[in-house]
Symmetry: C2
Subunit: 291 residues, 2 copies
């Protein structure tokens, strides 16, 4: 049943007040005034550049320096608001979160479960140690909450992309890791850049992993549209966008699992000014229907 | 405890066999041979362009034509493998999935629940009609499985960004919608483009919504790395990446909730050849630990 509506999209419109065109990569728009930038639809594409050629990261490596060198090799011009998406793996490696499995003595519980599902009991032991609580442990899958509050497979313990006989743990505090990197990168480049420490997580109900944000620094991870009005004048009630997760996913498009691209730079995303942490993305248990 | 490792990232490496550099937007690499393309790290950025200036979409509008016109206005050069991410809202509007709320007679169940949580009983009635099953219905939130198998808030029924007094339902068959658009766009541009029909969904455990793929055409939605070997020679066991969801999330970076950007074009993503549907992204109930 066709209905006719007025076009609620104004040709000349203003951006919602909290938003600023922080970055317009791919354009020469730095000198555009706020008013001009707000009053036209964003014609600026977002650009995601893989950071390539990083060496294998080892404990105590200066990760910021490695990222800076990679960006310079690629002649990347960093601008205010650019976002570094950095794979958790290289952060964990730089922070020495590598565990030799032969140093792990599995508990009876880990042994029983590992035997039932043909897993390495030492890895299961690590998972149990990293977990603050087990959300599901069945059919060979452990979904656990980490001490930081992330709910993910194996409490983030990973045995892929690490040397044989070792496992990699999540960074002890991804937000702290992000802050440290962010400060070093901002200082080196002389502009305000943001950092997201990312990992690929599974989701209930949907197949496949997506890259999500664990640690966040230098930006607000959630875009809150609540209380703003859509073009039809209706107030938005429930719209909070997980910007940092969308940025991590976008970075994931160039950060393959096999191809030694452990970081990406996302440029040109319109971001509100603000700060926050990866912790903001973790839903408190009392608001979560699926624990 | 620092450990030293050999760098497992070969400088001269080959891409995993199923992968092809389908698109290298931002570069003049179309004539690069497969061998050359595989043997160097991808220096090609991914580019996400918002499609702006679309009119308010009404039932029976030719959506493909509107997208083509927008792309042409922006002088976008489409290449093989480019991905159109199209917001479900404009697809639903074009398909006439708009319901006048005054045509809805709420059931007693809908009335009771709506009264308890101060909701519009007609909207709740629509949600119950659209749902094939209710996953959670508590604290004012309805998480439901749609007939297509998507688990999401309100079974996809949306009252924002639609005219007053109306609600918008998900497309009847997002994969069919994607296929139709994909065929029309590919024909018009004369190259193989892909289409993702997207919507913003919440997730358990994490705050905020992210853009995900409902309908998919012209591409494989899942990148399956299982059986491939990481740089350390370990076989990957569980790594399947939800490429279509990462593409949808990347599109979400330029598709604001308020700013009348209902579509985006993602260019430059290395994609394997293949086909599939949005349905591939829905985890079958028997493999899901969270129903």
């Amino acid at each position: 049943m066709p209905m006719a509506y007025d076009n609620p999209c104004p040709t000349e419109r203003t951006w919602p007040t909290p938003f600023r065109v922080l970055v317009c990569a791919m354009s020469n728009s730095e000198n555009v005034s706020d008013t001009e930038a707000y009053s036209t639809p964003s014609p600026f594409p977002v650009r995601i550049t893989p950071l390539t050629g990083l060496p294998e990261v080892a404990p105590d490596d200066d990760l910021a320096r490695l990222l800076v060198e990679a960006a310079k090799r690629q002649r990347l011009v960093l601008r205010q608001g650019d976002v570094f998406v950095v794979a958790q793996k290289i952060v964990s490696k730089a922070e020495g979160r590598i565990v030799r499995l032969d140093s792990i003595e599995p508990s009876e519980r880990a042994k029983r479960w590992a035997a039932e599902y043909h897993k390495d009991p030492r890895v299961i032991e690590l998972v149990l140690r990293e977990a603050s609580s087990i959300v599901r442990m069945e059919r060979g899958v452990v979904i656990a909450k980490t001490r930081d509050g992330f709910v993910c497979a194996n409490a983030g313990v990973d045995i892929s992309n690490t040397p044989q006989g070792t496992a990699l743990l999540l960074p002890e505090n991804p937000d702290r890791s992000a802050r440290t990197l962010q400060e070093q990168l901002a200082r080196t480049f002389g502009v305000h850049v943001s950092v997201i420490i990312s990992d690929t997580f599974g989701r209930p109900w949907r197949e496949g992993l997506v890259n999500v944000a664990l640690g966040v620094a230098g930006m607000t991870p959630l875009l809150d549209y609540r209380g703003q009005h859509d073009p039809h004048g209706k107030m938005l009630q429930a719209t909070v966008i997980a910007l940092a997760d969308e940025l991590a996913a976008a970075g994931g498009l160039v950060m393959g699992k096999l191809d030694c691209v452990p970081a990406a730079v996302v440029q040109g995303v319109m971001m509100p000014e603000g700060s926050g942490s990866g912790r903001d993305l973790i839903r408190p248990a009392e608001r979560d229907l699926f624990r």
